[in-house]
């Protein structure tokens, strides 16, 4: 017999996880769409954000500073990585790009393990957002509710940047045809660097805002990376709306299945991915030929 209060609360958890996955996947998908590079270090970027934020929190005690530090630090890492490594891989086959970003992810994870050890770190929820709140029909952790709002705001900001600004227009044009953008006299490499930075920052931001919910350890990015892949396959590569839709679907599937048996959550996720691949091979909101 299903416990309905539990069910509703799991649906909320699914929504929170889904929004988080949507944000991380958007970062991955705009990087891939624009640069043509699938960043296997994206999960590690999420983890780096968590750690950068945790360090900032430890020194300042301010959650807001931690969030800003997490996002900015990862953006900086993204920009440096793009300038030093990724840039020489634009002309090389996808396989090489996968290999090098995979190598980078190991370097990031092991560097963090070297400096901070393997034990997980806890960043507490900011003051006033701890504890639980009574929603009338159920009790729910306050911070998770707040997290839903925070991530929704971040997604809206990303949406505005992508769809309502000049730079966003250039990025979206780059997703369609970066060679043409280059030919129009726009320094496409500067755009690439910026996109890599924004995409990484999205992952880093998600990493720190999620830290009060799930404590961080060096390996935390791996699970996220896999879930992000499923989201992108479901939503369609290079599609921002696809990432949001895919994220919400994946989040709900994981949460609701976990209610019955967490061991099957990946099986269900995989089943959903297979269904999409069979019915709409390019993803729910993807475009044929963008690969």
């Amino acid at each position: 017999m299903i416990n309905w209060a539990n069910f509703v609360s799991q649906c909320f958890n699914g929504l929170v996880l889904g929004a988080l996955l949507a944000l991380i996947s958007s970062g991955l998908t705009i990087i891939y769409g624009t640069l043509g590079v699938l960043n296997l270090a994206h999960g590690a970027m999420f983890m780096l954000g968590g750690y950068a934020g945790w360090v900032a929190y430890t020194y300042t005690g301010s959650f807001i500073v931690a969030v800003v530090a997490g996002a900015l630090f990862v953006m900086l890492v993204g920009i440096i990585v793009e300038r030093t490594v990724i840039r020489s891989f634009y002309g090389r086959p996808h396989e090489d790009q996968l290999l090098v970003t995979f190598g980078l992810s190991i370097v990031f994870v092991e560097a963090i393990r070297f400096f901070f050890g393997s034990l997980s770190k806890v960043t507490p929820a900011p003051a006033g957002l701890g504890g639980i709140v009574n929603l009338g029909f159920m009790f729910y952790p306050t911070y998770r509710l707040a997290l839903l709002g925070i991530v929704a705001v971040a997604l809206v900001v990303l949406y505005i940047v992508l769809y309502r600004t000049r730079i966003g227009m250039i990025v979206r044009a780059g997703i369609e045809d970066s060679v043409m953008v280059d030919a129009l006299g726009i320094d496409v490499y500067k755009v690439f660097m910026l996109v890599f930075g924004i995409g990484a920052a999205a992952a880093g931001f998600a990493g720190i805002v999620n830290a009060p919910v799930v404590s961080i350890s060096p390996d935390v990015g791996e699970t996220i990376l896999v879930q992000t892949f499923v989201v992108v396959v479901i939503g369609g590569v290079g599609s921002f709306p696809g990432a949001v839709l895919g994220g919400l679907i994946a989040g709900e599937i994981i949460s609701i299945t976990s209610m019955f048996n967490p061991g099957y959550s990946y099986v269900m996720l995989f089943a959903a991915m297979t269904l999409v691949l069979v019915l709409r091979p390019y993803g729910l909101l993807g475009t044929a030929g963008r690969e």
Binding site: Y32, L38, V85, S88, R92, H94, E95, D96, L98, L99, V100, F102, G103, L104, I106, V107, E110, A111, R113, F114, S118, E222, T223, L225, V226, F229, V230, V232, V233, V237, N261, P262, G263, Y264, S265, Y266, V267, L269, F270, M273, T274, L277, V278, P281, E291
Partner: protein, 618 residues
Amino acid sequence: MIRKRPLLVESVTAVVLIAAPFVLPHLGVAPTTVNRILIWGTFGLGFDILFGFTGLLSFGQSAFFGTGGMVAAYLLTVANFPHVMSAVFIGTIVAAVVGYLIGLIALRRTGIYFAMITVAIAEVFYFVEFNPLSAFTGGENGLPGVPTPQLWLGFTTIKFNTDLSMYVFLAFWYFVGLVIALRVVRSPVGAVLSAIRDNPLRAAAVGHNIGSYKLTAFVIAAAYAGFAGGLLALMQGFMPPDAFTFDTSGQLVMQTAIGGAGTLFGPLVGAAVWLYLSDFFQTTLHLGATWKLVLGVVFVLLVVFLRRGIVGGLATLWQRATGRARAPHEAAESDPHAVAAGAVAATAAPVVEFVPSPRRPKPADDGATILKAEGLTKRYGGIVANNDISFSVKRGELRGIIGPNGAGKSTFFKMLTCEVHPTEGRITFEGRDITGFGVTEVCQLGLTKSYQVNQLFTRLTVRENVTIAALAEKRGPFRLDLFRSVAGVEGLSQRVEDTLKLVHLTERADLPVSELAYGEKRRLEIGLALATAPSLLLLDEPLAGMSPRERLETVVLLKSIARGRTMIVIDHDMDAIFELAETITVLREGSVLVEGTPEQIKANAAVQEAYLGGVHAP
């Protein structure tokens, strides 16, 4: 080099495997490390066929490694299965079957999608192994108590229970695995796999069912993974659950990249480097957990600077040292003379006649009309690329198609070769309705095209390119002749030599395509189409981008090809088309403007208007 001394690679490997246990301990490699290297090397043989030869980078091999090992370990421990190697083979078969099912899903997409899907699938296996199936797999404890393998010789039994005896056991199976893998990559299937890696579009267009071949490679890789997983269980006497982790897949990928993909030995060499360094960092330098960080940095540097891995790098050095690789500029310089000589010879030399393929069904009608298109229309959204084109070509004809830019010529050709499907209308080839067929099927029926932009297998030699195209016609769209040598395909070498002669590339046959001059690449492009023995050959702008002299030579070449064949040629070079074609169809704005002999077309006012924009001849 390999073909001249057929068992060279095998013999050298055998010698190295025999010498290794005597040499490696002196270099500071622990005996168990040597054994682990062999297991990773065996694992990597299959992975290299998938990644190095077919170009499919999977990050999910742990699923099959774990499955094979778990099945074998389960049989040998819980189920008390009596025979050790049979259990490993059953594990291998289960892994292959699982690989087949997973491949059906993962191979729906290529490139990064494929990589992402394989990662996700491997993660599913990991979770299933740990939780729902933990009653069978021991969950996070794994399955201990796997018996040691033994060999009964009739009078005594050898137990492989020491490091050295285990080495002999593993080295034997590695060698068996290597011999099989070598046979596979030298088989026609292996040739098609490397064609898929280089240019999947063209591999399909010359008539290979690339989906089935990719699935074959995927299953082979899964089987090797499962086998290696079983060996791991035997070596450790215990099946560890971490075989299923993403780290396992990642380590395999990294070792293969370090050693060099596409060499079969790369994974073994990479595993040796990886495991040796990890031992060295941990036990000699006492780096503790930092070893993986250092190795990660080493790996990134290797990917950035050493593109073909250690084995690939050594092969390049070897080629330079022995002078096998000719400098590209030298090749280009010798070109014009070769072409001129070839072109002149073509007019005198006996022409290689067209022989209808015995594999193909006879024409379904009287055979006078080879191709008929009725009411072909193609719309892209609101844009009409082709509008109600009706068109027919007689057997033996050489038809020219001309038209200003944007007339819809290329779309028309794509519909005829079934690369795109018409919105409306019907195409009949040799009396058979082919509307809605695929490129591969149509090519197998005898209709193919040479592309406007070269679509070659760039990392292969000229001869290998032509061989791949000829294989499609000789073997059909898909065949699992994994253990036959390419040279053993009946009539293949004759077809390849004839085709090379026809396009004047016999002298250049052993050069990699990347070293050819542009004109030569264009001829090879035509050669690829010809090698499939088409009864109808479509040529999409064969003269595009050529110098005036190359054009003249190519026209001579096309004339010699045309004998006994039916061809349709699109080109912008009017003089060439007027010289070649017996009948010319003029397209304008997606429709047939007029059709007639070269003289009629030259004199036609509508054609002049279409090209000159209303300036009438006096």
